[in-house]
């Protein structure tokens, strides 16, 4: 056989993996735990343990094999499960104290299973509660501060709004306190980094902390998260300074197309090796703390002095849209969140922009109207009122509900820290400066609770 790939194409691919950190950010195996349901907590635990440890037994080893075979690094191996509130509900007794203990014990069991099969994280300790909190949902969210505080690998979420149902403000009011307690319950508030509040949560998200295995999915499904902010940044940086923005969009689209195609190949191979269904491919520019792996820097490469200044929202809109279009053209399995993430502490460019005051909470909120997730990894002062946390969440969920998109909030109130001070978690979570918030309170608005009705655009029947 003759080599029909040109030298330029070969060189481009090498550059992407060697110099620009193109990688498969996460392979996530979704496991349906509904067959484990029982009215006895002990039986439930037994079944869940067996299910997870047998289904994911070879997962990490096989992923490493595919990584080695194709020479494209697979960074994280993760599991997602059916939202835990659904799995637990049958085994609850009605005694709030016992049930809370069971919910915490369930998280510990999941943590043990995750360690046993060698994955980095297990997501899905959460509830779908956009229209109301069931007893199981309430039990679970009450257990969250302790459960995520005492476990290492468990990630939690709660969906509190959809475009079809509106916003569950009773849940929003309650979750502000949960997030504060979670921060207080863990070292350096790190527990709060493992919990996400959603509007329009997706059931096939391979990224953490918000991933879970939706009830509409097949039993075992492999989802794949591809990243590559470094590759896109190089593409934009290499373009002439006066290249029109539609041309920039075209360049990003082409790059997104190529990395999606490579990702799909790897996802299908791994799913075949594991004997599970290949679910979806999530092409998200997910920054890491590595220099160059920053979404903020891509926006700056488009011509902004600092991310956060005027023009940032437009630049991010162009970026997210181009990434989605390139991905959609490359694969019919595009799902998850797909777009660009703006996690403040994990992104060097964003973190620096906060430090120098160019990037504020209000601008971040504006930018989330066009990014693929929301207010992500934002450290806020430790003395922030729980009603203020709830109000920030309400704002963000409203953006998702009104615009028919997924939005999420991952705030970290760091005890003892004030606006402008630095907090460092090290590793993947990075470091950041505490983002100042408005000092005026939102108390009475949050205390009203109730439901913000679904928008008129949701009535399409």
């Amino acid at each position: 056989m003759t080599l029909n790939i040109s030298l330029e194409e070969i060189y481009e691919t090498y550059k992407m993996t060697e110099k620009e950190h193109f990688d498969i950010r996460a392979v996530t195996l979704g496991i349906n735990l509904l067959p484990c349901v029982s009215d006895s907590f002990a039986t439930l635990c037994e079944r869940v343990e067996k299910k997870i440890t047998t289904t994911a037994r070879h997962f990490v080893k096989r992923a490493e094999k595919v990584d080695s075979r194709f020479g494209i690094p697979i960074i994280n191996k993760r599991l997602t499960i059916t939202p835990a509130a659904l799995v637990l509900s049958g085994a609850l007794t009605g005694n709030a104290t016992t049930d809370r203990k069971h919910a915490v014990a369930f998280a510990e069991l999941l943590d043990k299973c995750a360690s046993e099969v060698g994955v980095d994280f297990l997501g899905g300790y959460g509830a779908l509660a956009e229209k109301g909190l069931s007893y199981a949902d309430q039990t679970l969210i009450d257990a969250v501060p302790e459960a995520l505080g005492c476990t290492e690998k468990i990630c939690g979420f709660i969906n509190l709004a959809t475009s079809k149902a509106g916003i569950n403000m009773r849940g929003v009011a309650r979750i502000g306190g949960v997030i504060r307690d979670l921060a207080l319950n863990s070292d350096n508030a790190i527990g709060a980094a493992k919990f996400v509040v959603f509007a329009n949560a997706v059931s096939d998200n391979p990224f953490m902390a918000g991933g879970f295995h939706g009830i509409q999915e097949a039993d075992n499904v492999l989802n794949l998260g591809i990243s590559g902010p470094g590759v896109v940044r190089r593409t934009v940086e290499a373009a002439p300074r006066d290249l029109a923005l539609d041309e920039i969009s075209e360049l990003i689209k082409k790059t997104a197309f190529k990395i999606t195609r490579a990702g799909e190949l790897i996802g299908r191979e791994l799913a075949r090796d594991l004997g599970v269904r290949f679910g979806s491919l999530d092409l998200s520019l997910a920054p890491t703390t590595a220099v160059g792996d920053s979404v903020g820097r891509i926006l700056e490469a488009m011509g902004l002095e600092r991310v956060g200044t005027h023009g940032s929202t437009a630049a991010l809109a162009l970026l997210t849209d181009a990434v989605k279009k390139g991905g959609l053209m490359a694969s019919s399995r595009i799902g998850g969140l797909s777009g660009a993430f703006v996690p403040v502490s994990e992104d060097v460019g964003l973190s620096e922009a906060v430090k120098c005051g160019a990037l504020t909470m209000d601008k971040l909120e504006a930018m989330t109207t066009v990014c693929s997730v929301g207010l992500d990894m934002i450290p806020v002062p430790g003395d922030t009122k729980t009603t203020t946390i709830s109000a920030i969440i309400a704002d963000e969920l409203a953006i998702g509900v009104m615009n028919n998109k997924t939005t999420a909030v991952r705030l970290i109130p760091v005890p003892g820290k004030k606006a402008g001070e630095m907090v460092s978690w090290g590793g993947l979570l990075g470091e950041a400066y505490i983002v100042p918030l408005h000092s005026e309170n939102s108390d009475y608005f949050i205390w009203r609770k109730g439901q913000i009705p679904a928008p008129v655009t949701s009535f399409r029947n």
Binding site: T2, I5, I10, Y14, R69, G71, I259, A262
Partner: protein, 97 residues
């Protein structure tokens, strides 16, 4: 891809470095020792830089691509060249629709 190619495990090797005599011989010798078969080879000098691309078959190779990649990098360092290897299907996915 013909039927006979189906049993092959193809990869692409890229060699870049300062031009001198013996590069092709050294690299081929290394491939032979690793039991890697060369399917196609193309080489040129671009602005004084030696650039070679090879299509190779790893079906009978001694180690898998992950291990080979490190071996190639080390071998390249020893003889003053940059040598990289990657699976052929990655290129096909990225560059051919």
């Amino acid at each position: 891809m013909t039927n006979s190619d189906k049993n092959k495990d193809l990869a692409v090797v890229l060699v870049i470095g300062k031009d001198r005599s013996g590069i092709v011989a050294q690299v081929s010798d290394f491939l032979w020792k690793e039991e890697i078969n060369i399917e196609d080879i193309s080489q040129k000098i671009m602005q004084g830089i030696f650039v070679m691309t090879m299509l190779v078959d790893l079906a009978k190779a001694r180690s898998d691509l992950g291990v080979l990649s490190t071996k190639f990098a080390n071998f390249g360092e020893d003889i003053g060249l940059s040598i990289q290897i990657q699976h052929y299907r990655i290129f096909e996915a990225m560059h051919r629709v």
